[in-house]
Symmetry: C2
Subunit: 309 residues, 2 copies
């Protein structure tokens, strides 16, 4: 068995339009890199995190540390690990920063321990890291980051995750304006009650979206990517949201909504050419502002955490 | 082109657990029979309806008449038809009685007119019949009755129906207690607001159910057949509902809920043996009451309206 392993943990988009709180997908091309090494100290040791000095390195406060500890507790192991995190996903970006660290950590630890758990089982432990980060149990970023593709989080009691392979030509473009939105604040914006008619419309769209994904029906995916409940309550936090959405739809995106609790905004597209046109449209809107931003375009990834070496 | 045609229009189950107002499926073995014949009077003529003297035979008030008229108006035709309906689905049963008549009528008329419309287009006209029956535009019975299989009604503006083939071994058992519940009254029982957390749970289940249907994953279909919003508000209208549900789940049903707005209750099962056991369990519960009832068990039908001769 190896003593050390390097993994890539992809970013992810959750709250996929109508799929608020129950759907997420993994994206390629941006993610955290982590190196895990066994130590003989029976302890977790997290090295200072490159570029993000404010992230806690105390294992009980760090999402990667909490997630690995949950795995070790379940296994009844006191194996120690040195954990090195190269963080490429900025915390508070809305593209699954904490999930990437938690997911990468548990997949890496599981490998070094001889794979006692399946990937699906690992989602549980990654989710423990999410609880440390946001105080709330959410698996809609953790699941696709561990497993890849689209993941439905049907229920939490017990956790029931259903993976759907992404259609081959489905691309995602994400713009990340460099402002921070705390998940907790974004949650507080939401009404606790929903109009029944809007809820019905939402689950009709969820049904259409899931069916579209299974059938690789891009047009249906696009028609179903509506959200009449959450988006309009939260978009106030995101500068230029309406202009951005209009521009990407005109550029041919299938649909567009807030990624996670923002500030990132995602668009789904059929094929690379459309994704490029949508990137340009996003760039056109944001280049007129004073807000720094990044744009990523990549296929929706059917891989979750990948082992690099 | 034929002058006369005989069709079979199957019963259907709508409000499939979590899929309230957006999902329905067709069942085999029970349905209306209709004979349509062209006449030279430029008028619709509905013969007295066998067994159901209270149903209107005036074309503008009868669901079949309204549906055919909607088709003729769209086509710009003044073709007349004689319409004979052998009604096997009792009105107010909750298994798509009005939809069966409307769907059978438009499929039959379309055939006699040389098929100017696709089956999917016919759903629009069948839905006009539903409006005549309940005052509300609903396609979650009409769509599966016309098309067969499971049908998602994603949206009404415009009508967007997505058909999913039913898994091969999926059986449905329906019990129809012979009491009448008016759709309108059942609607009035529902709160107009829903708790956001319950709504999220509901669309998580909808996602699971649609994914389960696409993958023929019977266990997932069963896990997802939950409804935490509508069932508990409406079950008061249905005698023995809780006992019935407990009995059929113990007998091995995948799930159980109210069909349409009741009083019928449906259970989905994997395979004929389970369906038989579930039928017996339903019978056991209702044989102890004084309420007359019918039980039907059949595969979920991938055929909608069938042409008999």
């Amino acid at each position: 068995m190896n003593k050390s392993i390097k993994v890539f943990a992809p970013a992810s988009v959750s709250n996929v339009g109508c799929g608020f709180d129950i759907l997420g997908f993994a994206i390629d091309g941006i993610g955290d890199e982590m190196i895990l090494s066994k130590n003989n100290l029976n302890k977790l040791h997290i090295k200072p995190i490159e570029g993000y000095k404010n992230l806690p390195t105390e294992p009980s406060k760090n999402v990667a540390g909490v997630a690995i500890q949950a795995l070790l507790d379940d296994l009844g192991s006191n194996q120690g690990f040195d954990i090195e995190i190269k963080k490429n996903i900025k915390p508070g970006s809305g593209i699954g920063s904490s999930s990437a660290s938690a997911a990468g950590a548990v997949v890496a630890a599981n490998e070094l321990l001889g794979k006692p758990y399946s990937r699906k089982e690992l989602v549980n432990f990654a989710m423990q890291g999410e609880i440390a980060a946001s105080g709330d149990a959410h698996a809609d970023n953790a699941a696709p980051t561990v497993l890849g593709g689209f993941c439905i989080v049907r229920a939490y009691d017990p956790l029931d995750v259903i993976q759907i392979e992404s259609p081959k030509d489905l691309w995602c473009v994400v713009i990340h304006p460099q402002i921070e939105i705390k998940t907790k604040e974004a949650r507080e914006l939401l009404s606790t009650e929903v109009d029944l008619k809007k809820a019905i419309r939402q689950w009709g769209n969820v049904a259409g979206l899931i069916s579209g994904l299974h059938q690789s029906d891009y047009n249906l995916i696009g028609r179903s990517l509506e959200d009449h409940i959450v988006e309009k309550q939260r978009k106030v936090l995101i500068p230029e949201f309406d202009n951005l959405k209009q521009a990407v739809l005109e550029a041919g995106a299938l649909g567009c909504s807030i990624s996670g609790s923002g500030p990132s905004v995602f668009a789904l597209c059929e094929g690379e050419d459309k994704a490029k046109a949508v990137s340009s449209a996003m760039n056109e809107v944001f280049s007129k502002t004073t807000i720094p931003y990044f744009i990523y375009a990549s296929q929706v990834s059917n891989n979750g955490v990948r082992i690099l070496e």
